[in-house]
């Protein structure tokens, strides 16, 4: 081959990224060393310097391949691989990038890192020990990170006399376990990394194995179809405005194909326009596909900025603030549900709060575990709410728009990797009221100089939040206003908060999705709490159908001054006296999430008072509340 032929051939090579996970004992480093060495890519002097080291510390004559791959000093000293190392080699067919990762449980995060960019994963099994918890862990993480091809390499076949039975046993054990995983392509191969059997060339010691050698698999596995070429997602990365006549949107095509002339919709504005041109340094092109980095110009001057997305108008991603993901926790500190973490998703950054850790997964058994803390190297299913909407697909469908990282707002470290799942619609996901993290981090409350006791004495009342919950049009608001009148007439100081009035001001702009509903009630709870701090009785009338949210309101206000009252009525009764028209709209499907019609109302388990409004009426209900307040020594205060 002449050099020109070589260059022409070499230019056409494609790229395969693969990860290897395993511990030193599995012979992972030996395998990689073997691949690098046998594909004639270990440069002579590198071998030379490794020999110098080996000679200092042991008398072994043969090359220790592991020393070629374990880069950091600490690792050489401890003899373990602690970080992801990237290795490169090529054959005439392909260029390879290896993400070499450690296999110990405490390095789950590194395995996930290596797998995140891999087209293929090699899972190593020691033929003498078969499928171990560690093997399962590797396989699970490989599957979780959506690596489409898996090669199970049964290593150290030389130590089991190249036995076909041993290999077949391991194959069937592994297959049984792998049935629980979703990996589209799994292959098995018996090898000896140390001796080179079936690594580059087929082994003469295992003629019973009819498949390809490992390197052949790596060279031939077809990966082009693993990309998503259907759903166009073009996250805008940078807006290029070199002069007034040019406005280009730079980005890397995350998925799908974008063509000149395509109608595209910009998210979140939902404005439509057409692709005017696709510009590159090497000239304009007709179409761009992943992973190309291009610059797109549009026919109309839309105001699109970084973090926004161009998509085909007929194929939209989810645009939501509420989503659910599998999370690999990577921070030294466990996940804190009260921290608003930074989220980086495509080119968009936002703050996100954690609504719920639904469960954790035991990486060794794949069993679900009760949630508790999500700590370093643990994996859990978590529900989030971001401050601004993100444009996502499920990770299974689209890795680029289904993945994100979480960043700790104080330490700035990357603390988690997330893979979005979409098994439930956003409306059905649990939501949660939280304190903002800023306060938690930086500020302590100022203390008033007026004592609680002094306030009680002055106002002749003890502050409390009287929380009426019940279906829409059950009469909550009428009851609180009737109660307010009675309290006022007797000289008490109180304030009414009800859904409609709060939504006109304080909660303007929030919708009726579960996320915004939680935020709406958080604001109400904060206001009620402030009023109570000032000695004032707060009368609240809110549907608040979720028991979990009401519990959180109770927590914010303080359990000792929170009284939950259930206004109990059937949906039919409420519908009859409904003046809002909401029941009608909910029944026809115009309004979603209406408790009692198309969403659940969770009755309070232990209310301070239940008001069967249908028989009681508004006046009598208010009277009962007055009795309750007297009973609980809220108003009037007895001197006894």
């Amino acid at each position: 081959m002449t050099i020109d032929e070589f260059l022409a051939e070499n230019e056409k090579k494609d790229l395969l990224r693969f990860s290897t996970a395993g511990s030193i004992d599995d012979g992972k480093s030996t395998l990689i060393g073997r691949l690098l060495h046998d594909s004639k890519n270990v440069y002579e002097d590198q071998i030379q310097s490794v020999k110098n080291v080996t000679h200092d510390k042991s008398s072994k004559e043969e090359i220790d391949f592991a020393l070629l791959t374990d880069g950091l000093k600490a690792e050489r000293e401890q003899g373990i691989t602690i970080d992801v190392a990237y290795r490169y080699f090529s054959t005439p067919k392909r260029k390879f990038i290896i993400a070499d990762t450690p296999g110990h449980e405490q390095y789950t995060r590194n395995m996930a890192t290596g797998a995140s960019t891999a087209n293929l994963a090699i899972v190593l099994i020691d033929a003498r020990y078969g499928v171990l918890p560690q093997t399962k862990r590797h396989s699970f993480i490989t599957a979780l990170l959506g690596v489409p091809h898996m090669v199970v390499a049964v290593n150290k076949m030389d130590l089991v006399d190249f036995s076909e039975d041993v290999f077949e046993q391991i194959r069937s054990d592994f297959s049984r376990f792998a049935a629980k995983l979703t990996v589209p392509d799994i292959r098995f191969i018996p090898i000896s990394a140390l001796l080179g059997d079936n690594v580059v060339d087929r082994s003469s010691n295992m003629t019973w194995y009819k498949g390809e050698a490992l390197l052949e698999i790596l060279e031939n596995v077809y990966v082009a179809s693993d990309r998503n070429l259907i759903d166009l997602r073009f996250p805008v990365q940078y807006v290029l405005r070199p002069h007034l006549d040019f406005r280009g949107y730079c980005g890397q095509v995350a998925s799908g194909v974008i063509r000149k002339g395509d109608e595209v919709t910009a998210l979140p504005s939902k404005k439509k326009t057409r692709v005017e041109s696709i510009v590159t340094y090497d000239g304009e092109i007709e179409r761009a596909y992943p992973p190309m980095s291009v610059t797109v110009t549009l026919e109309d001057e839309l105001d699109v900025s970084r973090g926004e997305m161009l998509v085909h108008s007929h194929n939209m991603p989810h645009a939501d603030r509420h989503f659910e993901a599998m999370l690999v926790w990577m921070g030294e500190e466990p996940m804190d549900v009260n921290t608003a973490y930074g989220i980086k998703h495509t080119t968009r950054t936002a703050r996100a709060r954690i609504d719920e850790l639904r469960y954790k997964v035991d990486v060794n058994t794949l069993k679900r575990m009760a949630p508790g803390d999500l700590a370093l190297n643990e994996i859990g299913r978590v529900v989030f709410t971001s401050m601004t909407p993100i444009f996502f697909d499920s990770y299974v469908k689209n890795q680029a728009t289904g993945s994100f990282i979480l960043i700790d707002p104080v330490s700035n470290s990357t603390v988690a990797a997330g893979m979005i799942i979409e098994r439930e619609s956003a409306d059905r996901l649990p939501s949660r009221i939280t304190h903002g993290s800023e306060e938690a981090v930086s500020a302590r409350r100022y203390e008033s100089q007026v004592q609680t006791g002094e306030r009680e004495e002055r106002l002749a009342q003890r502050p409390a939040t009287i929380w009426l919950t019940g279906l829409t049009s059950s009469g909550k608001t009428s009851i609180v206003y009737a109660t307010e009148k009675k309290l006022f007439d007797l000289g008490a100081t109180c304030v009414v908060l009800n859904g409609r009035n709060v939504r006109l001001g304080l909660s303007r702009g929030l919708d009726f999705g579960s996320t915004d509903r939680a935020e709406h009630l958080r604001r109400v709870a904060e206001v009620a709490s402030l009023l109570n701090d000032s000695g004032i009785i707060t009368l609240c009338a809110f549907v608040s159908p979720s028991a979990a949210i009401r519990d959180q309101v109770k927590e914010l206000v303080g359990e000792d001054r929170f009284l939950e009252i259930h206004v109990d009525a059937t949906a039919e009764w409420c519908e009859k006296r409904d003046e809002t028209g909401l029941y009608e709209k909910a029944k026809s499907g115009v309004v979603q999430n209406m408790a009692g019609v198309n969403a659940d109302y969770e009755e309070p388990e232990f209310p301070a008072l239940t008001l069967p409004i249908e028989t009681l009426g508004v006046e009598e209900s208010a009277t009962q509340i007055m009795s309750l307040l007297r009973e609980r020594n809220i108003f009037p205060i007895s001197n006894g």
């Binding site: 002097d45 310097s49 950091l72 995140s116 993945s403 700035n412």
Partner: protein
């Protein structure tokens, strides 16, 4: 049937462009470290591509030890003029005084490269600096991130690196902390040469073989820019070229007849000595690159 696939070089190019744009979008004051070598030349082309038809939105910074080869300075100044680039040159205040003979290579490097680099980044208030390091080059670089976090002293802590998944890079830093961004992390030496060939990228002529007047010093072929031989050394003529460019005292040439890029690639495929083997400084002590990186070097 239309094939929607990219060659490995086009994939690498796309990844590098993505990194350039990401850094420019997320940092306030990025700068590109420019060493005049072949990796810098490739980076420069990628940066041009990333912001075409605009200009590169950051300056180049050459940390100059004062001991670079004459041809490097000539090439640099010519290129800057031709492309209309903004180039900043930073020299350590003791650059005339420090040298590897009196102070040893480790100390000389620590002052003229590492310290000078850190000072120039601090003085320029740059929060991100592009570098041309490749993971394939050296063992400790194999574990380097694309966004390499450096503390207020420019130090790299290999045990405390941020996990880096997919192509989601964490750009959060506090004041004084910086990121070194490596757009060509995943390129190999062969990739770099192939790209230079494909794209016809200009490089310093010292990469090409010609007859040069040299001495043999500690087994390395050294080109004397100042003409000063050490006792016992004899000037001789060798047909040689440079596989890697650094300071003239510490960068050896290799015997070679490769006078064109294809010939260089051909030689590379047959002669297997890794490219940094001719850099004296990497071989000071076992693991010396890692030590230098911890202190703030590339």
């Amino acid at each position: 049937m239309i094939e929607y696939s990219l060659t490995h070089l086009k994939q690498l190019e796309a990844e590098s462009i993505h990194i350039f744009r990401e850094v420019v979008a997320e940092f306030e004051r990025p700068v590109m470290l420019y060493s005049v070598g072949k990796d810098s030349s490739v980076m420069l082309r990628l940066a041009q591509k990333a912001f075409h038809p605009g200009k590169m939105p950051f300056p180049l910074l050459h940390v100059d030890t004062g001991y670079k080869f004459k041809q490097m300075y000539e090439f640099r100044d010519e290129l800057v003029k031709e492309l209309g680039l903004e180039l900043l040159v930073h020299k350590h205040k003791r650059s005339g005084e420090m040298n590897p003979f009196d102070f040893g290579t480790q100390k000389c490097c620590a002052v003229l490269k590492t310290e000078a680099l850190l000072t120039s980044l601090r003085e320029g208030e740059y929060d991100a600096a592009f570098g041309g390091a490749r993971r394939e080059e050296e063992k400790s670089r194999a574990k380097e991130r694309v966004y390499s976090f450096r503390d207020g002293f420019g130090q790299w802590d290999p045990k405390n690196q941020r996990p880096e998944l997919w192509s989601l890079y964490n750009a959060k830093v506090n004041k004084g902390e910086t990121i070194r961004a490596f757009p060509i992390s995943n390129w190999t030496e062969l990739d770099v040469w192939q790209y230079i060939y494909m794209e016809n990228i200009p490089i310093v002529p010292m990469y090409f073989a010609e007859e040069r007047e040299v001495v043999i010093r500690d087994g390395q072929i050294i080109l004397l820019e100042d003409g000063k031989t050490l006792p016992g050394e004899e000037l001789r003529k060798e047909v040689c070229r440079f596989r890697s460019l650094g300071c003239h005292y510490c960068t050896g040439a290799v015997r070679s007849n490769a006078r064109t890029v294809p010939e260089i690639i051909e030689e590379m495929m047959t002669v297997r000595v890794s490219e940094r083997a001719t850099r004296v400084i990497d071989h000071d002590t076992e693991g010396s690159m890692e030590l230098k990186k911890r202190e703030g070097y590339f």
